[in-house]
């Protein structure tokens, strides 16, 4: 049964990886990053259940907290980018300085 959970987590992770690498929309890249985090959370919890150790569930708790901060900063950057460039395509970010 652990193998089923691991394979599911791998499928979700690779879907998120494909999303990060193929989409130009910055918002979609951020959503695919959430998929990556969700896949790793799933494998942490399943290892916690099958190992009999609570540490995996605590890691997931911290990952959720960090992801909340990451999403807030990322969306703030997207809003600023939309105000400056009036687009959210990643290709338009050609300059390091603004």
């Amino acid at each position: 049964m652990l193998g089923h959970y691991l394979i599911l987590s791998g499928i979700i992770f690779s879907l998120g990886l494909i999303g990060v690498m193929t989409s130009r929309n910055v918002l979609k890249v951020l959503l695919s990053l959430e998929l990556l985090l969700a896949a790793s959370n799933l494998s942490f919890v399943s290892f916690s259940k099958f190992n009999g150790d609570y540490a995996g569930q605590l890691i997931v708790f911290f990952v959720i907290l960090v992801a909340a901060a990451e999403v807030a900063i990322g969306l703030a950057i997207i809003v600023v980018m939309y105000r400056r460039l009036s687009t959210i395509q990643a290709d338009e970010l050609k300059e390091m300085k603004w």
Binding site: G3, H4, S14, G16, L17, E34, A38, S48, Y54, A67
Partner: protein
Amino acid sequence: MSPFFFYLFAAILIFASLAVILARNPLYNVLALVVAIFSLSCLFVLLEAFFVGMILLLVYAGAVLVFFLFVVMCLNLNTVVLSSQQQTRFRWLGSFVGLMFLFSFALAAKSFIRAHAMEPSSIRGTIEVIGKILFTDYLLPFELTSFLLLIAIFGIVSLAQGALSTGKDSENL
């Protein structure tokens, strides 16, 4: 009983993740991610990690994704996205790398399962147990996350201030 629910929620999770990647409208992407997080939380409950599952539902589906939805509606993306959201040059390369990752991951998981035959243990991640561990063994990381959130608030405020001070003369918003 449990395998049936596992396959049900796994199928919902995979289809919702596909919709996150493939849907054109960003609103549908966010809503598909809500469905994916909901079925992930159901999987956590099947693994008897009740506290983490509920936190995932409350914090992710409740707060973070509503924030996403708010930003998508605030940006008024329909005119922007539909004009120039076509496939990238890296579409096939990205899909190839993702599938290769899945293949190597499956091989690693298979050899791991063969080496360690694991049976599900009897632990239950109730709020009492998790809270006790969180406030004894993991007290320092738990307190440090409050600093992380504080720094995130500082970052957002400074970003928003910079945008406001220059947004006035560029007439965009």
